[in-house]
C-alpha cells in the first residue's frame, strides 16, 4: 500500500480579495520506503503540497489518504493524534523547543503519542536515536548549546521517535552549509534505509535531488513530471 495518495487535489490562498491558486489537479502516489523529493522553484507549491501530505493544512478539493486513512474525514483532535503517531516532521529552521534539552525534545513526541512505551523503553528509544544521529553525548544540551547541524540531527531523531511510517522534511538543508547539509542528507538516507520509513522532502538542493529515489517536479502548482528510480532487487 502506498503511504500517501492524493487525488484531484487543489488549494487556493486568498490574498485580500484575490484568489491565488497554489495547487491544481494534483494526483500523486508516494511509494513506500522511498526517498521522495518534491522539487521546483520557489513559489511552485512544493511546501503547500508537503503541508497537505503532513495533514497540517486542508485542500479546497480532492482526497488525501495517508497510511490508508482518509485524513480529510478526521476532526482536528483525531488528526493531531494521527500526526503524532504516524508522521514525523523535520523543519527548515529545526524548530526544536528551546526550553527542552536534546533528550527531552526527542522524548516529547513519544509522550504526545502515548505510544505505549514504558519509561525505560522510552529512555532506551531516545538514547538509541540520539546515538544513531551521533549526539549521545549532547543529550543534556539545549538547542541554544548546539550547532545548526546538531540541531537538525536532533530534529531528525525527534521525527523518528514514534516510529512513523512517513517523515516529511521541508528544505531540511536550506539553513546549513553544504558540508553539513550533505552530512544531514546522508544521515536521513541511512535512517530511512535502516528504519524502512518513507521520506518526503521539499527541496531544490542538488545534493538532496542526487540522493532521491523519486523526484516529483512541480511548477506553478502543477506536477510537471515524476521521475522514479528503479528499486534495486
Amino acid at each position: 500500500m502506498n503511504p500517501v495518495v492524493l487525488r484531484n487535489v487543489a488549494k487556493h490562498y486568498r490574498l485580500d480579495a484575490v484568489d491565488v491558486p497554489a495547487l491544481a489537479d494534483i494526483d500523486l502516489e508516494i511509494h513506500p520506503e522511498r526517498f521522495t523529493v518534491l522539487s521546483g522553484p520557489s513559489g511552485s507549491g512544493k511546501t503547500t503540497l508537503l503541508n497537505l501530505i503532513g495533514c497540517i493544512d486542508r485542500p479546497d478539493q480532492g482526497d488525501i489518504t495517508v497510511d490508508g486513512q482518509a485524513v480529510l474525514t478526521l476532526r482536528d483532535d483525531a488528526l493531531s493524534d494521527f500526526r503524532a503517531r504516524r508522521i514525523g516532521f523535520v523543519f527548515q529552521n529545526f524548530n526544536l523547543l528551546p526550553v527542552l534539552n536534546a533528550y527531552e525534545n526527542v522524548e516529547y513526541p513519544l509522550l504526545l503519542a502515548g505510544s505505549g512505551y514504558s519509561a525505560k523503553q522510552r529512555r532506551e528509544r531516545v538514547l538509541g536515536l540520539l546515538d544513531a544521529v551521533g549526539l549521545a553525548d549532547k543529550a543534556r544540551n539545549r538547542p541554544g548549546q548546539l550547532s545548526g547541524g546538531q540541531r537538525q540531527r536532533v530534529a531528525i531523531a525527534r521525527a523518528l521517535a514514534t516510529e512513523p511510517m512517513l517523515v516529511l522534511a521541508d528544505e531540511p538543508t536550506a539553513n546549513l552549509d553544504s558540508h553539513t547539509g550533505a552530512a544531514i542528507i546522508a544521515l536521513m538516507r541511512k535512517m530511512q534505509r535502516e528504519l524502512k520509513v518513507s521520506f518526503v522532502f521539499s527541496s531544490h538542493d542538488p545534493q538532496v535531488l542526487a540522493e532521491a529515489d523519486d523526484v516529483v517536479s512541480i511548477r506553478d502548482g502543477r506536477i510537471t513530471g515524476i521521475r522514479r528510480m528503479e528499486v534495486a532487487a
Partner: protein, 462 residues
C-alpha cells in the same frame, strides 16, 4: 515532560518579563493584604471599644431601644437582679460569659448652681467593679491599654463628667482640665451692681449655708412618678469622650445613686443588662439561648435583646465603609493584574507562534496548547500570590514593630498603628485565590487565541 514543567520552563525562559509580571502581582497582593490588615485592625479595635463599653449583648425592656431611651421609669427592667441570676447560672450561657452587669441610663439637667450654669446631660449609672472587668476584654490581642474607671473606689455620690460638660458647668478650674477655655462673661453679669441692702441680704443668705466643694453639681431628673428629683454629685474627674456630642452630655455615676434619683424609695430598676462574652463569635449562640430563656424561664418579662452592632450603628457604618474601600481597591488591583498577566501572555503567544505551530504539527491538540498557556497563567498566579503574601507579612511585621501611632475617630489617645496580616487566614487565602483566578482568567484569552492558530500560518510566522 508534563504541562506544568514545560510551562515553568517557558516562564523562566523569559525571566525578566516573568519577574515584572510577578512584581505587579506581588504589589497587588501586598496592597490588598496591607489595606485589608489595616481595615481589619480598625474593625477589631472598634469592636473591642464597643464591647468594653457596652458588652456584646444587652437585655432591655421591650421597645426600650426604639422608644424608651428618654424614659427609664417606663422602660426599666423591674426584676433585673433575678434575670441576671438566671443568665449567670444558665448552663449554656455560663461558659460564654465574662461579665453580666446592669446599667441605668437617664436624661436630666446637670447644674453648677454656685456658678449659675446648667445643661442637659445623659447620665449612666454603672456598677464600677463590673465595668472595670468589662474593660479588660481584649480578645484580639491589642497592646494592653487597660485603665480603670475614674469612678473606681469613690463614694456613692461621685460622678465623672465629659470635658464638654465641665466646660459648660465652669468646672475646668476645680477639676484641672487642660485646654479648657473659660466662657466669656455674659452681658447681664456686667450690668449695674445690686443695691447695698440686696447685696447684704444675699451675703447673709450664702453665709448660712455650709461650704460646698467647688466640684459639686446637682443632677435634676424626672423620677418614676414624673416629679423632678435632684441628686447632689461630687465630680471626681472630667474625662474627654472623643466625640464632642458625647463629651458635652456625658455623666457617669454609681448605679445605686442613679437608681435613687429615678426610683427614689421604690424598687430599683435597670434599663439594660449588659452581657459580655468570651468571644464575639459566640454572639449567635448566646442570642439563641437568650431567646429560648425569654420564651421559658423569663417569659413573664417583656424583654428584647440586641447585639453590640445594633446598639452602635456607627460600627456597621464604619466597617461597611472600609469594606467598600477594600472592595474598590481589590477590584482595581484585580483589573491591573488582569491586564498585566494578559499582556504578558499575549506577548508570549506572539513570540512563540512558530513554537505553537511546531507543537501542533507534531501532534499536540488544541486543548494541549490551551492548557500550556493556562498553566503558565496559573503558575504566575500561584508564584505571584505566594511571594506577595510573604512580602505583605514582612512589611506588616515592620509596620507593627515600627512604633507608629494614630488616633482613630472617637478616640482620645493615640493607639499603635497595626496591620493584621498574620493569622488572617481567610483574607490571605481569599487574596491568593482571587489573584490566581485573575491570572488564569487573563491567560484564558491568549491561550484560546494560541489554540486557534492555523498550523501552517503559525509555522510561517516571522
Amino acid at each position: 515532560m508534563n504541562t506544568f514543567r514545560l510551562a515553568l520552563r517557558n516562564l523562566l525562559r523569559n525571566h525578566r518579563r516573568s519577574l515584572t509580571t510577578l512584581l505587579a502581582m506581588m504589589v497587588g497582593a501586598v496592597s490588598i493584604l496591607l489595606f485589608g490588615g489595616y481595615s481589619g485592625n480598625i474593625n477589631y479595635g472598634l469592636q473591642t471599644d464597643f464591647v468594653k463599653r457596652s458588652g456584646h449583648i444587652q437585655i432591655q425592656h421591650k421597645d426600650y431601644f426604639l422608644y424608651g431611651s428618654g424614659n427609664p421609669a417606663a422602660y426599666g427592667i423591674a426584676n433585673y437582679q433575678h434575670i441576671i441570676d438566671v443568665v449567670k447560672n444558665d448552663p449554656v450561657l455560663k461558659p460564654m460569659l465574662t461579665v453580666v452587669t446592669p446599667t441605668l441610663s437617664l436624661g436630666g439637667i446637670a447644674g453648677n448652681f454656685a456658678q449659675g450654669v446648667s445643661r442637659t446631660v445623659l447620665g449612666s449609672g454603672v456598677v464600677v467593679d463590673e465595668q472595670n472587668r468589662m474593660r479588660r476584654w481584649n480578645d484580639y490581642g491589642f497592646p494592653d491599654r487597660y485603665k480603670p474607671l475614674a469612678l473606681s473606689n469613690t463614694p456613692v455620690d461621685s460622678a465623672v463628667i465629659g470635658t464638654g460638660v465641665a466646660r459648660v458647668l465652669q468646672l475646668c478650674g476645680p477639676l484641672k482640665v487642660a485646654h479648657c477655655p473659660q466662657a466669656p462673661a455674659k452681658a447681664s453679669e456686667t450690668g449695674a451692681a445690686a443695691p447695698d441692702d440686696i447685696a447684704a441680704l444675699s451675703a447673709q443668705e450664702n453665709s448660712d449655708k455650709p461650704a460646698q466643694p467647688a466640684t459639686r453639681i446637682e443632677l435634676l431628673a424626672a423620677n418614676a412618678h414624673g416629679a423632678p428629683n435632684v441628686a447632689g454629685l461630687n465630680v471626681v474627674q472630667a474625662v474627654p469622650q472623643g466625640v464632642k456630642e458625647l463629651d458635652d452630655l456625658f455623666v457617669m455615676l454609681h448605679l445605686a445613686q442613679a437608681q435613687r434619683l429615678v426610683y427614689g424609695g421604690d424598687a430599683p430598676q435597670a434599663t439594660a443588662i449588659v452581657l459580655q462574652l468570651q468571644h464575639t463569635s459566640q454572639i449567635p449562640a448566646a442570642q439563641a439561648r437568650l431567646e429560648t430563656l425569654m420564651k421559658t424561664t423569663l417569659r413573664d418579662d417583656a424583654l428584647e435583646i440586641h447585639d453590640f452592632a445594633t446598639l452602635n450603628p456607627s460600627y456597621g457604618q464604619i466597617t461597611g465603609m472600609f469594606a467598600a474601600i477594600f472592595g474598590f481597591i481589590a477590584i482595581l488591583i484585580g483589573a491591573i493584574v488582569l491586564f498585566t498577566v494578559g499582556n504578558t501572555m499575549s506577548m508570549a503567544v506572539v513570540e512563540r507562534t512558530v513554537e505553537i505551530g511546531t507543537l501542533r504539527a507534531i501532534g499536540l491538540r488544541r486543548g494541549g496548547i490551551r492548557r500550556l498557556f493556562m498553566a503558565e497563567g496559573l503558575l504566575l498566579g500561584i508564584i505571584g500570590s505566594v511571594l506577595g503574601v510573604l512580602m505583605a507579612l514582612a512589611l506588616a511585621w515592620l509596620i507593627n514593630h515600627g512604633g507608629l501611632t494614630w488616633t482613630p475617630p472617637g478616640n482620645v489617645e493615640p493607639v499603635p498603628l497595626m496591620v493584621r496580616v498574620w493569622g488572617e487566614s481567610r483574607m490571605i487565602i481569599g487574596t491568593m485565590l482571587g489573584l490566581v483566578l485573575v491570572a488564569v482568567t487573563s491567560a484564558w484569552w491568549p491561550a484560546r487565541r494560541a489554540a486557534k492558530l492555523q498550523i501552517v500560518d503559525a509555522l510561517r510566522h516571522v
